[in-house]
Homo-oligomer: 301 residues x 2
């Protein structure tokens, strides 16, 4: 479907956007000083490590398609990355997924300690809302509070955290595809949807563009999760910078365990085709988002 | 200074306000259903238990003095109570203060489990920002996002969470009064200050009233913490619904260990006099806030 050469423009755009978001994150994060310095060191350790920064890229791409200002989109992207990172810090805790490795480095509670990791996660979440609500994000207060409200809905009990709770609750239970699908729509899908929608909110886009981006996000989010499960089964730890085969070792139901590798791959590809179809309304200008959807199922890390 | 009879109007007002905030909390909290039900049960368990709801009372009192609408003030009070409650849930965790008892009942992680408590705390924080950003809180989006921004500053790394980190960092160290004071100004003072200021923001009050409320909050917050340390030394667990003497048992420096009981009592009373003096600008209408300051140092629970 794709090869390295055709993905080069996407990779370049993602690298550039990721660096720009990294600068915003660095600027909004407090400097470590005083007896509370470890808190800020932990926040920086988890946030400033180079990652793909997929969610901010979705915000920036949506803003480009809808006429949202780049400065504001960078801040919204940073806010979503802060929420995503806080969720990783808490998910890795011993009482949760108990992961010692994250992005090829020791997890936050391993590098620091459990208490610091809990507090760093808490403060990362708070900082996300501080960044969104600041007038630098958008001149219109109604837009800023709309962004806050939507991020809160996506990240809270009816979104990301609710999905994480389902994940824990069904860990040792027989679960069906509908439950796994709903779990993933909440756990990872809600934040991806908000990332895509935020660009439309920032640009004041009409209902057609907003719906197109949400439709794209809906399919992309699920494809992304199926691809993640496939990587957990087929990938290797050195490439991924995290442990693999963990789900199977824990007897955890995943898209792969329920569907098998081939059917999971087939569905991921079908979802990508669907995701791409939503973008027709934007014409050629949505090339990066099309490439991204393809990259998500082709990636090796 | 005060007796039960003169505090009766305050007690009545607090009871009425607490019940009204409880209704808002009940309304904004998701109903427990689906496999994620324990998350919502834990959120409700911690939030809907009857408490004094001191912080919402401060919001409502400030709004009464500054002409802020009651419906909005109830929502802001609920949001602050959600943040306060999330901090209690996380502070009680084994990796943090490891407290099994809270308000006379099993702590969240004891009643449910650690993972559920971590997630419930996370979702309570998120919900606070969702409540603030909703148009029902104030018709002006700029006011809503200002409330979000100020709550985030008060609750985050430069506020409440930073104070909690200092508390952990200095636990086994020789600390001086300046460090303890700064720690408490962040850990409990910042949220109390925002509670008082929020009423002024909601009512669009002028600089004089805002400053008066902030000055009151500043002194009240410290008096409150000294009183808390005194209760930990002098109170008993049955009255308080939580363990006492814990700080001394942990060799933890407190206002009482650094100042002694008598000097701590003297300072708390001096702070209350200072707090009350700030309220002169409001005349007789600030009677409840004056009584509250006195109650804080006289209370037995």
């Amino acid at each position: 479907m794709t090869d390295t050469a055709t993905l080069a423009p996407l990779a370049d755009a993602m690298t550039e956007d990721s660096a720009a978001v990294g600068k915003v994150l660095d600027a909004v994060m407090p400097r470590p000083e005083g007896p509370e310095a470890p808190l800020f060191e932990a926040m920086r350790y988890m946030t400033l490590a180079n990652g793909k920064r997929l969610r901010p890229f979705l915000v920036l791409s949506g803003a480009r398609l809808c006429g949202g200002a780049r400065a504001g989109a960078l801040r919204v992207g940073a806010a979503i990355e802060l929420v995503h990172t806080y969720s990783l810090v808490h998910d890795d805790l011993p009482a949760m997924d108990d992961d010692d490795l994250r992005r090829g480095q020791p997890s936050c509670h391993v590098k620091f300690d459990e208490a610091t990791a809990i507090l760093a996660g808490d403060a990362l979440q708070t900082l996300a809302f501080e960044v969104l609500a600041d007038p630098a994000t958008h001149p219109d207060g109604a837009v800023r509070s709309e962004l806050v409200r939507r991020l809160a809905v996506a990240a809270g009990g009816a979104g990301m955290v609710g999905g994480q709770m389902i994940d824990l609750a069904v860990e040792h239970a027989d679960v069906d595809l509908a439950t796994i699908t709903r779990m993933q729509r909440l756990k990872t899908g809600a934040l991806i949807s908000f990332s895509c929608e935020a660009g439309a909110v920032l640009g004041g886009a009409g209902e057609d563009k907003r719906r197109a981006l949400l439709g794209y996000a809906h399919d992309l989010g699920l494809a992304f999760q199926i691809a993640d499960d496939l990587l957990d089964t087929l990938g290797n730890a050195a490439d991924l910078g995290k442990a693999t085969g963990k789900d199977a070792a824990h007897g955890k139901a995943t898209f792969v365990s329920l569907l098998g590798v081939e059917e999971a791959q087939r569905r991921a590809r079908a979802l990508v085709r669907q995701a791409v179809a939503h973008l027709d309304v934007f014409g050629e200008s949505a090339a990066h988002l099309r490439d991204l959807a393809r990259f998500v199922v082709e990636r090796r890390t």
